[in-house]
């Protein structure tokens, strides 16, 4: 048991818990209204939006998994950097438009937007359910990050006792989300970011100092891993894998319910645009974090007997905790682990709120009780946020981790299928709801089928055109099928469908 680390960790955790409950009184609003509880009253300016978006774009899983991928696979893991480079143009160009539409009509979720655009409640349901299905394992995966750092502090036990710290952390999370809504993660996100920055800066100064600069760090990595394998013959090989993973991830990111929640809770389109210029500060941190994988290689943590148990239990996900333990004194390791754990709490809270908004607005009000009052709707959301988190907790305790990873992989390729409905509809009036539903079915089926060919173990499928192979991210290939079907069906159905009641201006 690492007592100095554990003490600092618990102190920081208690502090943010207090903050989470106090957040209910921050810019106080009527929390019985869904847009107050679930969108913080749409009053978050540039800075809070920045923290909130950063809070859910860069999650504990990112802080653990990306360095782990770089640690294990080398250059391929760096795809996270071009991916974040490509998200900002989308953020700047597309999302202010979505915000304006949502603000004008009081939309809370992407299903609301789709219902408003096409008047097709089945398409809205498909979009909502896609969000729910894709997000739940994502929340569960936040817990993986938390589990790894709790394990790294030497807290362990047999059976349910071993899961107890995780259960306590989650009960706390559920309680303050229930009482404070989106205000809680928004407030905690500020603390989390300060901690993360301190840790990242400390690591990127101390490790190179210890090893004599960055050159020895890269020198410790086998040369073949430092760049992508150049493709040979009629294939784009690693190049098309790298670029499609980056582009596909960038396209999917802002479609997740929790990203949309952060965007819709900002106070103006200007706040979103300014964020497109400020958010890259997170990407730099992400790039540095990715390099922690190489630092772990250079520190030889993988062969250190002190960490053998950790690697055995958590695989490459243990690379960053092992690096932190090997470089820093116990108390600072506590700060670092708290940063990662709080970094898991924030997105978990935002994700569960986003799912809750879908359940109450689009399933409860949309299909079960259309005339529910605003207070009832908000109450259902609060309960749904608890249920969603409970589901994630059960998931992590009873489902082995590799399985959860495969589920998340599917989540990403399902999420991207709502892009034609949510985004293209903002620009094209020719699309019809039923055609988009057809495209969604084809895209989801194609993607799921491609993934099933690898037994859901890989995200890559090889498409061959005129004898040239393009191995690439399944999400992107299935999205193309989706778009083609949506557009063609829209044209075919045009004579039979009266123009959708698009957007009462």
């Amino acid at each position: 048991m690492n007592w100095p680390a554990l003490t600092v960790f618990i102190a920081l955790f208690v502090f943010v818990t207090g903050l989470g409950f106090a957040a209910a009184r921050w810019r106080a609003g009527d929390l019985t209204q869904l847009h107050e509880w679930g969108l913080g009253g749409r009053r978050f300016g540039t800075w809070v939006t920045w923290f909130l978006m950063g809070g859910d774009l860069y999650t504990a899983y990112t802080f653990i998994a990306i360095p782990a991928l770089v640690y294990g696979a080398g250059a391929l893991g760096f795809f996270a950097v071009p991916y974040t480079v490509m998200i900002y143009p989308f953020l700047y160009l597309i999302f202010p438009r979505l915000w304006s539409l949502a603000h004008k009509h009081g939309y809370v979720t992407s299903s609301d937007v789709v219902l408003g655009l096409y008047g097709n409640k089945w398409l809205a349901l498909a979009v909502g359910v896609t969000g729910l299905v894709a997000t739940m394992p994502y929340i569960a995966l936040q817990l993986v990050g938390m589990q790894v750092v709790i394990g790294a502090m030497g807290v362990s036990g047999e059976g349910w006792i071993g899961d107890l710290p995780l259960i306590i952390a989650f009960v706390i999370l559920a309680a303050f989300t229930y009482t404070s809504g989106l205000r809680a993660p928004a407030m905690i996100a500020v603390v989390k970011d300060v901690l993360i920055y301190v840790v990242v800066i400390a690591v990127t100064i101390f490790v190179p100092l210890k090893l004599g600069g960055f050159a020895p760090i890269f020198a410790a990595v086998p040369v073949a891993k430092l760049t992508l394998a150049a493709p040979v013959g009629d294939t784009y090989g690693a190049y098309s894998i790298y670029s499609t993973l980056a582009l596909g991830s960038a396209l999917a990111l802002f479609l997740y319910p929790h990203s949309l929640t952060a965007i819709l809770s900002s106070s103006s389109p200007g706040a979103i645009r300014r964020n497109a210029a400020f958010l890259p500060a997170y990407s730099l941190v992400l790039g540095l974090l990715a390099l922690l994988g190489y630092m772990a290689v250079a520190m030889h943590v993988g062969t250190d007997p002190a960490y053998a148990d950790g690697f055995k239990t958590y695989g490459n996900n243990f690379a960053v905790p092992a690096l932190i333990l090997s470089v820093f004194p116990g108390w600072f390791a506590g700060v670092a682990f708290a940063a990662i754990a709080i970094g898991a709490l924030v997105p978990s809270a935002i994700m569960s709120i986003a799912c809750a908004n879908i359940v109450s607005r689009n399933i409860y009000r949309g299909f079960i009780k259309p005339h529910a009052t605003n207070a009832e709707e908000s109450q259902v959301a609060k309960i749904a946020s608890m249920v969603v988190k409970l589901g994630a907790l059960v998931f992590i305790i009873f489902v082995p981790v590799p399985y959860a990873l495969q589920f998340q992989l599917l989540g990403g390729l399902w999420m991207i299928q709502v892009l034609p409905s949510v985004i293209m509809g903002l620009y094209l009036r020719m699309l019809s709801g039923w055609a988009l539903l057809g495209g969604w079915v084809v895209g989801t089926a194609t993607g799921t089928w491609m993934a099933s060919l690898t037994s859901f173990k890989a995200a890559v499928y090889t498409v061959t055109v005129l004898g040239v192979s393009f191995p690439g991210y399944i999400a992107l290939w299935s999205l193309i099928a989706n778009i083609v079907v949506s557009v063609v069906l829209s044209l075919l159905l045009k004579p039979f469908v009266t123009a959708a009641p698009i957007l009462a201006e």
Partner: protein
Amino acid sequence: MASQPGSEPKRHWIRVLFILPFISMLWVSSYNRLTPELFGFPFYYWYQLAWVILSAVIAGIVYKVEH
């Protein structure tokens, strides 16, 4: 959708700058090499990190021109 007065800035040709991050990042073969190094970083790494900063600068320029 009719534009909402006040919320949409005047669209400007400067937005074409946003194509640069896509061209540079998707053209993987242009940066998949080790040299020249910078501060001990192989080219592959510092080039992609430099694009993080460049993309922020581009978003900043577009915002300035439009507002």
